[in-house]
Symmetry: C2
Subunit: 293 residues, 2 copies
């Protein structure tokens, strides 16, 4: 009997070569390359784990149930990618920044395309619920020069950890969302409320997996930004509250050292009054540096 | 600024350690180990492929559509596991046989639990469609001793490549299925028809993937067996027609050298008459060797 591999039959030893060898006539080289890597890593994982037939079937059913949870309104596979660090890894690979430029992080599922453009200084908190906060800073290039006409698209959760789109009828439409455009000094500022940590949806397969792994589902408090300026790479990022209880254990791994902002408590009746705040408030200053295109 | 990894924040470099580091309190060690391997291999694959955000989303949508195709009657994730060689790899890992024992292969989706037990020699082809075939051999232990009371559960596709359960109302119920029990000589024999190659379901995401990879969806002609005997490991296997056009390119990688049977054409009116066949027929002889439990 000749060795099995001479006829191209599948064995434990040659499994990767036999499977990927079938892709000689693939329609495009990129797909062929990706499937070569995916097949190789998948077989390496199976050989290392040595799953029983029951464990293999459990994995099949996990993927099946995850697929069944996906609807127009919910994407459980993206959530799975998030909690396994894959989304942040893809973000990192696609957003390697030149020295000095602000770092990116995940977009998340709560961005809304048509938030209103507001005058600088506007209060995006429409229901005045929560602790007042004023946010300011500059949009700069990597040489430190201010960028005029930079557009900041901002959104955040409220003081209970919910976005407006999660509480339709409870929060006003477009609550805690706004679009701001910088002047020649590159400065921006607006008023809002201090955001709170919140859980990712944890009633599905991903939530069960987190539970079984002894992990919590929380994201530390943050503000979202998309910042655009002609001639520069669009920046999708957050700034985080460094004092949040979950700052070192974001369920989706979105925190980066450079995205920690300082949230200062200010007790200054004159400044509060000028900002139309009733009492003490939070102040955050944060500059963003855009990479050239 | 301290290095990001000192605070445990996620970077391209430390991505595996940060993600798997969260599983310290996992409920069981086996899950923790499996998720450590899966996360590591997944990150290795992402780092090697460097997918764009669009490619990542394409992968998410492929998994989503695959999940949506899964019903009580169809398992597209098992099909995906099959065409990537994962099912056969899990089979290989779980069925490493002692020297001399018959090798296993995939169960497939067409087994039926309650096929009738038939007297040795019965013709399992109930509609007499196709080329007559007689199959015989012995069930042995690894020392070559015949096994009495071994139970062979046999099923196969017809001469057009369809199983009875795929053609309800066209083929008779339990067509080309039967259960046989060996006597003291360990011998079995039954009559059937020559099976034909057939495609795996190729109208879903897996079929599209095969197409894009330049692969066909066919499985070479085969007969299925589950063989049970007290004190021995149950053997789930096929025997294959070595002259099948797809013998070297089974879409699910189920072929093994040792599972090739010889399909001999016999033109012998006396033997045909004794077998109640109208003319020339096919003859297959194949012994099965069971591993001790």
């Amino acid at each position: 009997m000749t060795a099995a591999h001479e006829k191209g039959f599948f064995t434990e030893e040659n499994s990767v070569e036999v499977v990927t060898g079938r892709n000689a006539d693939a329609r495009n080289e990129r797909l062929k390359f990706a499937m070569e890597v995916i097949t190789r890593k998948l077989h390496e994982a199976v050989k290392e784990i040595e799953p029983t037939q029951d464990e293999w079937f459990e994995a099949i059913m996990f993927l099946t149930r995850t697929g069944h949870l996906c609807t127009e309104w919910r994407q459980e596979f993206i959530l799975l990618s998030d909690v396994l660090g894959v989304s942040m890894l893809v973000d990192a690979i696609n957003n390697r920044k030149p020295s000095g430029a602000s770092e990116s992080t995940v977009l998340g599922p709560f961005h809304v395309a048509d938030a209103p453009e507001l005058p600088m200084g506007a209060n995006i908190c429409l229901d005045h619920k929560g602790e007042d906060m004023v946010i300011s800073g500059r949009v700069l290039d990597t040489r430190g020069r201010p960028l005029a006409d930079a557009v900041l698209d901002v959104w955040q959760a409220n003081d209970e950890g919910f976005y407006d789109v999660q509480q339709k009828g409870i929060q006003p439409d477009f609550n805690l969302r706004g679009v701001f455009r910088t002047g020649p000094d590159g400065r921006y500022w607006f008023r809002a409320v201090k955001p709170k940590y919140y859980p990712i949806p944890d009633d599905g397969t991903v939530g069960k997996l987190l539970g079984a792994l002894g992990r919590h589902p929380y994201r530390p408090a943050h503000l979202h930004y998309i910042i655009r300026a002609d001639g520069f790479e669009t920046l999708t990022t957050h700034i985080f509250d460094p004092d949040d209880p979950y700052i070192n254990s974001d369920a989706v791994f979105g925190v980066k050292e450079s995205l920690l902002a300082e949230f200062r408590k200010v007790d200054d009746p004159k400044r509060a009054s000028a900002l139309e705040f009733a009492g003490p408030f939070w102040e955050v200053e944060h500059d963003f540096v855009l990479a050239p295109e």
